[in-house]
């Protein structure tokens, strides 16, 4: 009895000490982590729409619902209104699509006419040196910029992929096509009137 009590207590004490240590580390690191997440988000939005000086997350649930179903099979996770000097100049759409190594989280910028202003990769889990070519070969993401208003899945599929990283490149093409569909079905003409 005494012996088994000793075992229980020793595991319990270890766990309590470990939990306390982790809680302390977390308390110190949490604000920094939040800050870094916010910065990363801001950078990725800025990257797809350099002219914008602010982004507001869309909270209109009806709009999000329509856009989400239009984006399937990719998953739409957020929509932002891109603003410049108070007036709306376009949209930033966050989607995740399926790559080779799991989901690829992308941000796609669209101007008010529906033309693509930029694509950036928030995070991905592709094979380093192969799948990650979609990021390191700069021309690949650049070719999406300027896809014309009203572009459809066919236009996206006509763009080049990279030999050796076909499935990663397809993941990104799927994501951009999904953003295009979301724009066509939901976002087009839904800009808010400029603040007087």
């Amino acid at each position: 009895m005494r012996e088994s009590l000793r075992l229980v207590v020793s595991v319990l004490v270890t766990c309590m000490v470990a939990a306390t240590g982790l809680a302390l580390t977390y308390a110190v690191a949490a604000p920094r982590i939040e800050e870094q997440d916010r910065l990363a988000q801001e950078r990725s939005l800025k990257a797809v729409m350099p002219e914008a000086d602010g982004f507001d997350a869309v909270e209109d649930e009806e709009l999000i619902k329509v856009a989400t179903s239009a984006a399937e099979p990719a998953t739409l996770t957020a929509i932002y209104r891109a603003k410049r000097g108070g007036s709306e100049i376009g949209w930033a759409v966050r989607v995740s699509s399926r790559g080779y190594g799991g989901p690829m989280h992308l941000v796609i910028g669209l101007d008010t006419s529906g033309s693509v202003t930029g694509v950036s990769i928030l995070s991905m889990n592709e094979t380093p040196g192969l799948g990650t070519k979609v990021l390191s070969e700069k021309w690949f993401l650049a070719q999406f910029v300027g896809l014309p208003p009203g572009f459809d899945d066919q236009d996206v599929r006509a763009l080049d992929v990279i030999a050796g990283s076909t499935r990663s490149a397809n993941g990104i093409r799927d994501g951009v096509a999904a953003a295009g569909r979301a724009y066509d079905k939901a976002l087009q003409g839904r800009e808010e009137a400029a603040n007087e």
Partner: protein, 212 residues
């Protein structure tokens, strides 16, 4: 002191965790596609390994034999989570490339293996030597493996978007090296090389072993 050095050097050579003991291969083969990732993985492993060795060695008389494994795991997982949180908050650039591999350190058998085989039976000083030596041996091998795979698999070595070394133009990199079979091929050759080296060093140390 000489005992300390001997333990430290064993991790590098004769008892190298990767090429001789062959533990912790899963994470090694997965992460060794880029030199940069391999280095940070190595540093994280050295930290976790040394810290858990110290703690387990310091409390080795208090830890009951029957529940030592759960206690080791809790200690190791805590240090890994600390590394994870600190990296996320303070070096996001590194975290972005390595993030998904950090939790894998928990299941890296090197760390549990050293806790069980060494730290639980030896004093703190020697456990530090073991942690640092085994960690350094891990670093050395994973970085060499990553260097070979990255250089010959992609044709160049990239360090945070800067190309350090590149193969001559016209070199068509076989992407096989970057995939898992390539990891096994290169690693197999490295084991052969390290055995040859260890044998040679042993025969240099004892030269009168020959027939003549």
């Amino acid at each position: 002191m000489s005992e300390w050095l001997r333990v430290f050097r064993q991790g590098l050579g004769l008892e190298n965790p990767l090429t001789v003991l062959m533990i912790g291969l899963c994470a090694t083969l997965a992460v060794s596609t880029q030199l940069q990732n391999a280095l940070f993985m190595g540093v994280a492993v050295v930290f976790v390994l040394t810290m858990s060795n110290v703690l387990i060695s310091a409390f080795r008389r208090q830890i009951p034999d029957q529940v030592r494994i759960p206690i080791f795991i809790v200690v190791i997982a805590s240090f890994v989570t600390i590394v994870d949180l600190v990296m996320k908050g303070y070096v996001p650039a590194v975290y972005q490339v390595l993030g998904i591999w950090i939790p894998l350190i928990v299941v890296n058998c090197i760390i549990l293996g050293r806790a069980e085989a060494f730290a639980y039976r030896n004093p703190v000083g020697l456990s530090i030597a073991d942690g640092l030596g085994m960690g350094a041996g891990f670093c050395l091998v994973i970085m060499l493996l990553a260097f070979i795979r990255e250089l010959f698999g992609t044709g160049r070595i990239v360090w945070f978007d800067t190309t350090l070394i590149s193969m001559p133009a016209g070199y068509a990199p076989p992407s096989l090296l970057l995939l898992f079979p390539g990891a096994f091929f290169v690693f197999g050759l490295m084991i052969a090389a390290s055995r040859w080296l260890n044998e040679r060093m042993a025969s240099v140390r004892a030269p009168k072993g020959g027939a003549s």
